[in-house]
Amino acid sequence: MSDALATTLIDDIGALLLFTMILILGAGQLYRAIYAVAAQSVFIGIAGAVLGAATGNPDLWVIAGITIAIKAIFLPWLLLRVVKRVGIRLEIEPVIPISVTLVIAAIIVVLSFYLAASLGTVRQAITGNALPVGVALMLLGVLVMVSRRKALTQMVGLFASENGIFFTAMAVSQGMPLIIEIGVILDVILGALVMGILVLRVRSSVDADIADLDQLRG
């Protein structure tokens, strides 16, 4: 696969990733956000495959496969299981109105592109739009975590943020070493499990969402 084709494909996948991120930000219901982040992880997997074909590095194929298996199938399934077990209301309640969130998101994306444009030579080490899109995705994931009241939505934001980091990491030269990427994914899984357990424990003892608890002050 030629470099030019790889760059174009990465750019296209970047646009699709941004679109799924917008869907997560604008989601009115929890399960839509979960499906959107699953779709996003599928696109990350595809990006990994594209980069694997472009650089000839077999590690990237492995990463693509693991990403799809874990982040597109297993983790969303886990979240949906928790949703069913807990039986929470599906409406996502934001701390700031969704329209304001969308405006902030627009500003973040523009700033990310600005930032990436100001970094001269190292841009060439990272294929296509991966750096600005990765930064944007990561910061937008943080925005979701900060501006949503439901614990599970915060977890979705975390997964989206990690997707952004992965996107940039995969596109750097020949991708980050396999061990590191596997370690990161393992950490994400464990983190998700612990968070899921915390959500369930609080739900069973107190009838409130864990992200809503705010007794500790001062």
Binding site: G26, L102, A105, P132
Partner: protein, 316 residues
């Protein structure tokens, strides 16, 4: 090209759209019916409805003025002019100094004008439902029109022109020339398609319950030939927006020559694209419920952000 040829082509495309518009609506209704396991009305029913309406008399409220009678004709005129502007089968380069027969901004302005005139007519009738429908429709308009502009601009920035014919020609008639920002613009456009055609989840075109309609609310007071004009204008607007999507994002298949064979082929391709979009609309209508009105800004906000990003990606 000779200026007369331009006008002739424009009128020809306009006529094409007028003829095909009711069929498109009929097709969508039929497809929706099938998806909902009903038989549904025939695809030609919209034509019959128009003819029926033309034969009926007009009833208007006492507080309506001459504006109320003039509005249907004006709306139809604006929409027809818009139909003349959008390239359907023929793509031609506009010569320097020629009439702006194809400018995208003019097109969007005409559609906005049509919306405005319908609202005025509804308000003029003095009924409560007309007023409510008009205010809701204008709110949707405020949210939708900037997004349309952004989408058109994002594509125009890449080709350097807002003339739709030139835009299509310059983007190349190659089948797949979509790049990353175009994908985003396409997603935004699909959201807008739902809003401009007044379909679920933005509005329900089948309902006649006063509290649930946006567009239908404005038509409530009209009757007879006036209503026929407005209904035809709705059909035409739907097809015009579809043709806009096809011309901007999938210009492949449009021809520059006027040979009959080429024209027929281009017509077939256009019909295919329109039918695809019609299928998309029918599927969306059958799969989702109408959004509550205060949720519309969120839904359209997603479209806005997508279009904004498309433009931003183009520029940055």
């Amino acid at each position: 090209m000779h200026p007369f040829e331009h006008i002739a082509i424009a009128l020809g495309q306009m006529g094409l759209i007028v003829l095909l518009a009711p069929f498109t609506t009929g097709f969508i209704q039929k497809l929706k019916a099938r998806l909902q396991c009903r038989t549904g009305a025939s695809v030609w029913q919209p034509y019959r409805d128009l003819v029926k309406l033309l034969r009926k008399g007009t009833v208007q409220s006492d507080s309506a003025s001459a504006i109320f009678r003039a509005v249907p004709v004006l709306v139809l005129a604006a929409t027809l002019t818009a139909a003349a502007l959008v390239p359907v089968v023929v793509v031609r380069q506009a010569p320097a100094g020629a009439l702006p027969l194809g400018d995208a901004i003019l097109l969007l302005s005409l559609l906005a004008l049509a919306r405005f005139l319908s609202a005025v007519g509804a308000l003029d009738a003095g009924g409560a439902f007309g007023g409510m429908g008009a205010s809701r429709e204008m709110t949707v308009g405020v949210l939708v029109e900037p997004v349309l502009m952004l989408v058109v601009f994002s594509v125009a920035v890449s080709t350097g022109t807002t003339d739709l014919g030139e835009l299509a020609a310059r983007r190349g008639l190659a089948p797949l020339s979509l790049h990353a920002p175009d994908l985003l613009a396409l997603f935004a456009m699909l959201v807008l398609l739902l809003a401009e055609t007044g379909r679920i989840p933005v509005d329900n075109p089948d309902t006649h319950l006063e509290l649930t309609m946006l567009h239908e609310g404005m038509l409530l007071e009209h009757s007879g030939p006036g209503l026929a004009c407005l209904v035809l204008a709705t059909h035409i607007k739907q097809l015009v927006v579809m043709a806009l999507v096809a011309a901007v994002f999938f210009p492949a298949g449009m021809t520059a020559s006027l040979a009959p064979v080429d024209l027929a082929l281009a017509l077939l391709v256009f019909a295919g694209k329109a039918l695809l979009l019609a299928v998309f609309l029918a599927l969306v209508e059958s799969s989702y419920a109408k959004l509550r009105f205060f949720r519309l800004p969120q839904f359209l906000g997603v479209g806005f952000l997508t279009a904004f990003l498309a433009l931003a990606l183009r520029i940055l």
